[in-house]
Amino acid sequence: MSFPILSLLIFFPILGGIALLGIGKENVKGIKIMAFIVSIFELLFSLPLWFSFDKTTYQMQFVERHSWISLFNIEYYLGIDGISILFVLLSALITILCVLVSWNSIEKKVKEFFVSLLLLEGAMIGVFCALDFFLFYIFWEAMLIPMFLLIGVWGGPNRIYAATKFFLYTLVGSLLMLVGIITLYIQGGNTFDILALAGQHYPVKLQLMLFWAFFAAFAVKVPMWPVHTWLPDAHTEAPAAGSVVLAGILIKMGAYGFLRFSMPILPEATSAMMMPMLVLSLIGIVYGGIICLAQTDLKRLIAYSSVSHMGFVTLGIFALNTQSVEGGILQMINHGVVTGALFLGIGMVYERTHTRKISDYGGLATNMPVFASFFLLFTLASVGLPGTNGFIGELLILLGSFLTKPWVALIAASGLIIGAWYMLWLYQRIFFNPVNSRWNGIKELDAREIATFLPMVILIFWIGLYPNSMLEYMHVSVAHLLEQVTGNTAGIPSGVEVAVDTAVKATSHLPQVSH
């Protein structure tokens, strides 16, 4: 029995959070430092995953499996593969940044805030590691509570509405998923083992019903159009850390759910529902982008841009070929990094100005050149400029979807134009134009804030210039996943196969050209 590293990663922050309760609430500084230390150690503990992960197998790794509630065959079953590993690591990283960005901006109930944050971290990592459906559902629901508190207690003026909306939206979706899980349990031979459930074949009609049941839970989380309207409210009202964790990790859960459950367990339904999913994704991309153009609130705009960007993610996932799916997964990471960074930046500037209205800004590049440079980089990564991580993700997704259906890529590509429009326009209205005298004497970033940005900057260039270092982790798992989906169906020839086929044909007929 190897070292239970995944359990450590799940329960260390939870225990850290509980330990935090022991500190007197006047000792604000101690609480912050303690939370920071816990989050740093969590990241350190997670690094062995990166280094000792076996990239040559799609089998689950670092597996822990214990019987738990044997009456219902419920197990404590953890493991990660090439799809989930990066999200575990990203969760650990993002939490540190959340602690840092909340350093001064959280003024009331400081202890409870950091406890919630750490509990949230444990639950998030639990979601990515759980291989037992019951356990998964527990973590899934457990995330809801600290997030609800983050918005509802430390949020903006309209926080109660936003928190309730977030809670109800997600809960309704989750309940349908619960029905789906129970159905699977009964149909699949009384087991909650996700891998075992994926190994079985279900009647297509049942698959379709289950697909939509899961869809309810996952689409809300992504969020896909038209169940996205909780996100702008949640983002707008949440404190900076809440927005960062929401954009960085939480909304990835939906897409992860599709990858982990819908696709392998319900392959025929997935193939059959490919078109509707692609269309919904396209609507998300274009619609989300257009709505961004009409926003007057800084956070709301970035929130809607998430709808658009996550449309790219689901597009990639449901275009069902290697490029697009790997692009989709990479874009989940990218979006977490870039949008997370944008929300960090907004949090920092909001701390200084206490306004989210775009028209209140202007000319900030003069007063805060360092901040302007960072924000420019994040903006460019968000519009997918080459050299940044956003480019490779969008490129793979578009290429993949082009191979599946060229017109899909054509429509999705219009999202790139709209994306550049709203992001650059936003940047122009905040940082360019004549200086707004209201912000004379505004403070430039301090060392803590720059340190908060640096990991994101490194990731943006790292993934942008050497994406292979991330893609390597996914290759085998994604190939296996696609085999599960397309292998069980009549075999829809994917665009890639056609392309390769033509290429092979083309080359085989030709005399070799020497160079």
């Binding site: 109800l168 309207t229 619609y287 153009l293 490029q323 004549p434 392309a499 083309a506 050209v513």
Partner: protein, 666 residues
């Protein structure tokens, strides 16, 4: 040197990092040494590779750096640099002209007050950071050995363009004085110039539209050929076009959409004139000499594909010819010196596309090269004037500057002569070659080209006569004008020499029995397909050549007559043909049209969607409405049923509803 070719990219990147991170601390002097030096070193490396390429006899060499992304064994993009005659030519142009412009900028970006004290621009180091980044990006574009790297460079140069157009991001939009038509006549109103920040964004978005076309073209290449490497695509082009006839026309068309954006062709040219809001060295380097020619480079690079799609090629030639004429007519009446040159750039790019459209790829590259010399020279000259006049660029406020600024005047005239196609100047040979090839293809194209040539000569010398000849129209400005320092005048003279003698690279071999160096040099990139070898007869060539010469001299003469001999003519003409003059002065109102049709209606649509669909239908009706509905139903029912039974009643009601709908629907 060839194996070290990555240095030509790495050196400017080093300069960018140095100036970007340390620039503010080390002061402007260090920055102005590091910035140009890096580009000069890159030029030396490029020159070494050039010599080696000559020794190799033009054989292409690929230098592998690293593998960017691999997915399965099907999708793999290596970062390779391709050193061949075409890329090395572009490297020399970019780093050579780029270096001169860097040197020029070290003086242009500082201001001296009356006492001679030096005030560098507030963001002096940021300027050189971006300028170095541009050089690196442009070199990625031309040195990549596959379409993905080309696309990467393509987008990155767009970024630099955006950053540099909006360099003076806090300047507001600028009103333009109306054009006076004399007493008793209502002056012609001009729309205000966009702010630099808005111009930068306009450039980026318009380019993005083209880029999306380019990206789709790249995807289609991938789908068709299963690779993006040039050397694996071009040999199979013929085979593919025989087997799936629609693939290559689509690829070439989609790629050309990218070229329309980057190289400012109809209908995507609108960003380039506004790009003049950037500092003048930027206009010279990015928006005249190098970046905007990327589209021409791309087509010449892809000649194996374009040669196989005659329809698309004809389309390109047509767009090019129309753009050339269209932009030249606008340039006739502009009052802003840089914008005259900008429309001239659009027009000259049109010539280049006309050339590559008719299959005269070398001629396109030849004109690209000479144009880089003389147009960079003209922009730098305009900048020199601006620098001396404290940023005034309106030619109506100049006049008589030739005495004050002799070097600028002489070099500007040389550049003007080259642009106008005055006999024996570089532009004469390159433009004539295009016209001759166009004539072979279709006399109509030639006709459009020759009319444009006449217009070009006229508007160029209109600008020269108005700015440098006659009486000063703004005495105050004139009194304070002065010739600039050597950092500005030496690059002017070097470019002037190139603009004069650049034509020697491609003398018409039908008339002068010397080898056409350009043809010889680029011969190997045309693979087996070969270029349409137009062997015009001596007589025909002579007639065409002298026609071009006469037209150029005629245009210059007309401008002399209009603006020096009897300067009242232009105003009279403008009064008589007021609607036409108004239309031209306001650039056919195309910018306004685009603004109404795309920007305004787009934003209006967005607003309606946000308020109507998102807020009202999805949120108010469904999300908030459903609970309210349930709530009010409950309350309604609670009137019927007293006490706690309402819950059960509601449940029953919903149950019935569900059952009924189930039976109806099944």
């Amino acid at each position: 040197m060839t194996q070290l070719i990555w240095l030509v990219i790495a050196l400017p990147i080093f300069g960018m990092l140095f100036n970007g991170i340390l620039g503010r601390r080390v002061g402007y002097k260090v920055v102005s040494i590091v910035g140009p030096t890096m580009v000069f070193l890159a030029f030396l490396v490029g020159f070494g590779a050039f010599i080696e390429t000559i020794r190799r006899g033009g054989v292409a060499v690929t230098v592998h750096l690293w593998t960017w992304a691999t997915i399965g064994n099907m999708f793999s993009v290596p970062i390779n640099l391709l050193v061949d005659p075409l890329s090395i030519l572009m490297v020399l142009v970019v780093t050579g002209v780029g270096f001169l412009i860097h040197v020029y900028a070290t003086d242009y970006m500082i201001h001296r007050d009356e006492l001679g004290h030096v005030h560098p621009d507030r963001d002096f180091s940021r300027f050189f950071t971006f300028l170095n980044l541009f050089i690196a990006s442009m070199l990625i574009l031309v040195l990549g050995d596959n379409y993905l790297m080309m696309y990467v460079g393509w987008e990155l140069v767009g970024l630099c363009s955006y950053l540099l157009i909006g360099f003076w991001y806090d300047r507001p939009e600028q009103a333009q004085a109306p054009i006076d038509l004399g007493a008793d006549h209502e002056p012609i109103k001009l729309t205000p110039l966009l702010s630099p920040a808005a111009s930068g964004m306009k450039a980026f978005i318009v380019n993005r539209i083209g880029d999306v076309g380019f990206a789709l073209g790249v995807f289609l290449i991938w789908q068709t050929f299963g690779t993006l490497q040039f050397d694996k695509i071009f040999p199979f082009a013929k085979f593919v076009s025989e087997n799936s006839p629609s693939a290559i026309p689509w690829i070439t068309f989609l790629l050309f959409i990218g070229a329309m954006g980057k190289s400012a062709q109809i209908p995507l040219y609108v960003w380039l004139p506004d790009a003049m809001a950037g500092p003048t060295p930027v206009s010279a380097l990015i928006h005249a000499a190098t970046m905007v020619t990327a589209g021409v480079y791309m087509i010449v690079r892809s000649n194996a594909l374009y040669a196989l799609s005659p329809t698309v090629s004809l389309f390109i030639a047509t767009i090019g010819a129309l753009t050339a004429l269209f932009a030249a007519t606008i340039a006739l009446v502009q009052v802003d010196l840089k914008r005259i040159l900008a429309y001239s750039t659009v027009s000259q790019l049109g010539y280049m596309f006309m050339a590559v459209g008719v299959g005269a790829y070398t001629s396109g590259m030849f004109h690209l090269t000479t144009h880089a010399f003389f147009k960079a020279l003209l922009f730098l000259g305009a900048g020199s004037v601006m620098h001396a006049l404290h940023d005034v660029i309106d030619i109506r406020r100049m006049g008589g500057l030739r005495d004050k600024m002799p070097d600028t005047y002489r070099t500007f005239v040389i550049g003007g002569l080259a642009l106008a196609g005055f006999p024996l100047m570089s532009g004469f040979f390159s433009k004539d070659e295009i016209l001759a090839k166009a004539f072979e293809f279709s006399p109509i194209l030639w006709g459009i080209g020759i009319i444009t040539a006449g217009l070009t000569a006229f508007y160029t010398f209109r600008a020269i006569f108005l700015a440098f000849h006659g009486q000063p129209r703004d005495q105050h400005l004139y009194d304070h004008a002065h010739e600039n320092h050597l950092a500005i005048t030496i690059p002017l003279w070097i470019l002037a020499i190139l603009a004069m003698f650049g034509g020697l690279l491609g003398l018409p071999s039908a008339i002068i029995p010397v080898p056409h160096l350009f043809d010889k040099w680029l011969h190997s990139i045309f693979m087996a397909h070969g270029e349409v070898e137009a062997h015009a007869s001596l007589l025909k060539e002579l007639v065409l050549l002298s026609t071009s010469g006469i037209v150029a001299i005629g245009g210059i003469g007309l401008a002399y007559f209009f603006y020096v001999v009897s300067p009242t003519i232009p105003q009279n003409l403008a009064r008589q043909a007021r609607p036409l003059f108004n239309l031209l002065a306001n650039k056919y109102y195309i910018d306004e049209l685009y603004h109404e049709v795309f920007v305004k209606s787009g934003l209006g649509f967005a607003k309606n969607m946000a308020q109507g669909v998102d807020r009202l239908i999805i949120d108010a009706v469904f999300v908030d409405g459903l609970p309210k509905l349930v709530n009010s139903l409950g309350q309604m029912l609670s009137h019927l049923q007293s006490g706690y039974i309402r819950h059960y009643a509601l449940a029953t009601f919903i149950g019935v509803l569900v059952m009924v709908s189930y039976f109806f629907l099944r």
